[in-house]
Amino acid sequence: MELTTELLDKWMAIFAEKIEANKAYLSDLDTPIGDGDHGNNMARGMSAVEEALQTKKPADLTSALKLVAMSLISKVGGASGPLYGTAFLEMAKLSNSETDLARLTEAALLGIKKRGGAEPGDKTMVDVWSAVVPALAKGNLTNDLIQEAVESTKPMQAKKGRASYLGERSIGHLDPGSVSSGYLFTALLEAEA
């Protein structure tokens, strides 16, 4: 499937709504295994994204993706800022020559992994992205698949990010960044529908 500026706008708007609606929940998830700010971070970032898209009305997909990236990088404040920011920046770079969503998110995932050094199984957003990207390529991404990927982080012991300082005590909690990444991709499914 192709990413267009229209689809991106719709995607971001739905994602921003989901983040806003689940702000407290995301911060609560971040409390036992982090610093309790993931919901606030993402809400601040996504409202900056929405404002930027609406006021600057970027002319093309590349500018729009870059705008999303820069808003997240400058407004989120936590680890998820450079990570989501890098994801959208990588999509922006590739979007000059490629608009297939599977290819774009593949580049985004590579960027996230490079930025944070995490691999699947480390209990980070990489776990969700790594499950979603191949499904997008095969055209079989579903809400169930996303939900499963998010849930898979619960029994994991964190190896990256603040939760990793807790060692075994990080086991038994959902990873907040995986939950927000889950919203990103359910938002995409809704935007495409």
């Binding site: 036992p32 982090g34 610093d35 309790g36 700010d37 603040r162 300082y165 807790l166 060692g167 005590r169």
Partner: protein, 125 residues
């Protein structure tokens, strides 16, 4: 037995700032600090450290410091204090962050100390 954290730095700003980072992940852990000399210059003060020990509401303290001379004043303050003060030769920021996270998670002292061990970068080698 409740455990608290004690931060000792040569620089008043570092001593006052670090607990803000720790409080984010350890809202329920008593954290007190001492930074600078009595005149507020770069250095440490046994008296200020003694006060920070007293002010801390916990039964026992896990103490973290920056440079060796801070450890000496910390040790002296600990000898004069009523409370048990355990001093760790680990990286100040990173070590106290791990300790704060684990205390908040209810981890016991033995497990906590084994997680601090890789962060030991000073003291007798």
């Amino acid at each position: 037995m409740t455990y608290g954290i004690l931060i000792v730095s040569h620089v008043p700003e570092i001593a006052a700032g670090l607990p803000k980072l720790l409080k984010q992940v350890a809202a329920d852990v008593p954290i007190t600090f001492a930074g600078g000399t009595d005149d507020g210059d770069i250095g440490t003060s046994m008296e200020k450290i003694g006060q920070a020990i007293e002010e801390n509401s916990a039964d026992e303290l896990l103490a973290f410091y920056d440079l060796g001379s801070a450890r000496m004043n910390l040790d002296m303050a600990g000898e004069f204090a009523e409370k048990k003060v355990r001093v760790y030769d680990v990286a100040l920021i990173e070590g106290s962050y791990v300790a704060a996270s684990l205390l908040q998670a209810g981890v016991g002292l033995a497990e906590l100390e084994s997680q601090l061990a890789p962060l030991k970068i000073k003291g007798d080698d």
